[in-house]
């Protein structure tokens, strides 16, 4: 990074995605959630290749097509136009979720509303009475994919902690998240609870601990 960023505090969305991408092994089968997780695809480390799965029936998903080249019958789970790379394959929803539920996808990167210190994830509903429930494939992904990473801001816009002792929102899955990439830190979910793994520039342990609603263990 250039000198310019010295004064910058925390990581950008792109940096969070890049850090996450660095933790994904070469040759992994990867499913990226809608939103910030999609950025991971931009930061595949040199020498590595990831194969992207989208749950609506495509393995070997490529980047967005050029403007004007969109095909309404070639989309991703977020219903955006995508492309298919060499070596891709199409399949139906039954087979697609067999890949997910059967433990064949190596890594899934998702957004979060809350993550608990035991790895519980809440990312589908605020549980408000008038909210229309909508779960999509999130519960299948967290139950079936081998490794679940979360990318999220460390706190909400209102300043509430998203890393908590116990989720107050309805769960997407229990004990599923293993690592969280936030604007402030990388935090690991361990049997002992949250453990700091890396600090963003200009951020110290105390700040991360203060913005986490559960005990935070120091770096090993």
């Amino acid at each position: 990074m250039s000198d310019k960023v010295k004064d910058i505090k925390g990581w950008t969305r792109e940096q969070m995605a890049e850090l996450c991408a660095q933790d994904i092994p070469d040759g992994s089968y990867v499913n990226l959630g809608i939103g910030i997780p999609e950025l991971v695809a931009k930061f595949v480390p040199k020498g590595r290749e990831f194969i992207y799965h989208t749950e609506n029936g495509l393995l070997g998903m490529g980047p967005s097509p050029k403007a004007g080249q969109e095909d309404p019958e070639l989309i991703n789970a977020g219903k955006k136009a995508v492309t298919a790379l060499s070596g891709a394959s199409y399949f139906h929803h039954g087979d697609s979720f067999a890949m997910i539920r059967g433990g064949h996808i190596d890594v899934c990167v998702l957004g979060a509303m809350q993550v608990s210190e035991t790895g519980d994830l809440a990312n589908w509903s605020t549980g408000e009475p008038d909210a229309i429930p909508a779960v999509g494939g999130a519960m299948d992904l967290v139950a079936g994919v081998k490794t679940i990473f979360v990318i999220t801001q460390h706190i909400t816009k209102d300043g509430a902690a998203k890393l908590v002792e116990k989720c107050s929102y309805p769960l997407t899955g229990q004990k599923v998240v293993t690592r969280i990439y936030t604007d402030l830190a990388i935090v690991e979910v361990t049997p002992e609870g949250f453990r700091l793994r890396a600090l963003a520039p200009g951020v110290d342990f105390d700040e991360v601990a203060a913005k986490t609603d559960a005990p935070l263990l120091p770096m090993m």
Binding site: L58, P72, Y90, G94, R101, D130, V135, G173
Partner: protein, 236 residues
């Protein structure tokens, strides 16, 4: 020679009656049999239960069907859309029922319905509100939820090519729920981009074998949902 070709979408859906359970293929607009859905609107059958991953977009296709009030209940994984207020308004007004099912469980319940599996166990939803009233069973140290098969009276399907016997192929991610819904319905009605003579589809490339198909109708120039929405068109 067996010939499942019917001449019009109107004729294809003519025997759908009030109270029918109908699976509708597609994921968003991809693979959505919009002409068959519009024919169902024209037919006017009521009190329908519709199984689809979503609740439609804009005011065409599935959203339009919901908008007419013909649908009593939706079974889906994701009833939200940035382009449609039809479902949310009816839902908040208590005028439509909703059974929310995770996408993979929805797919597997449909596949089970087609494959003669009345029920199966899955880890999806364990520990979440969606399994609160369901049976949990521990198998080899992990908890699983019991889920039941879904079947339907009719399936409305969009495919790329159909032959006259009813063998089907699909186009890219428009495949999605269509093949498993073909399996799970008593009567499967298919709109094909192109109908070809029997024998034109390589037996190795058939995605849906003809045993799962009852009627095929050609819609060679189907409406494109996103274009209709961009143009502000509503149906009927």
């Amino acid at each position: 020679m067996i010939n499942k070709h019917v001449k019009s979408v109107t004729q294809a859906v003519a025997d759908i009656s009030d109270g029918a359970v109908i699976m509708i293929g597609g994921f968003g607009e991809a693979g959505s049999p919009i002409e068959l859905i519009h024919a169902l609107i024209d037919l006017g059958a009521k009190n329908l239960t519709i199984i689809n991953n979503n609740t439609g977009n804009g005011e065409v296709g599935l959203a339009a069907l919901i908008g007419t009030g013909q649908v009593k209940k939706m079974i889906c994984s994701y009833p939200r859309s940035s382009h449609s207020k039809v479902f949310p308004e009816l839902y908040r007004a208590g005028k439509i029922e909703l059974e929310i099912v995770p996408q993979g469980t929805l797919a597997e319940r449909i596949r089970a319905g087609g494959a003669g599996i009345p029920a199966f166990y899955t880890a999806t939803t364990v520990g979440t509100p969606l399994s609160e009233d369901k049976e949990i069973r521990n198998i080899k140290g992990r908890d699983y939820v019991l889920e039941y098969a879904l079947k339907a009276d009719f399936a409305l399907i969009k495919c790329e090519k159909a032959d006259l016997m009813g063998n089907l192929t699909y186009n890219k991610t428009a495949r999605n729920f269509n093949p498993i819904m073909c399996m799970a319905a008593t009567t499967t009605i298919v709109q094909a981009h192109k109908i070809v003579p029997t024998g034109d589809i390589d037996p190795e490339h058939v995605i849906t074998p003809n045993i799962f198909v009852n009627r095929v109708v050609e819609v060679s120039d189907p409406l494109i949902e996103s274009k209709l929405i961009a143009e502000g068109i509503s149906y009927p």
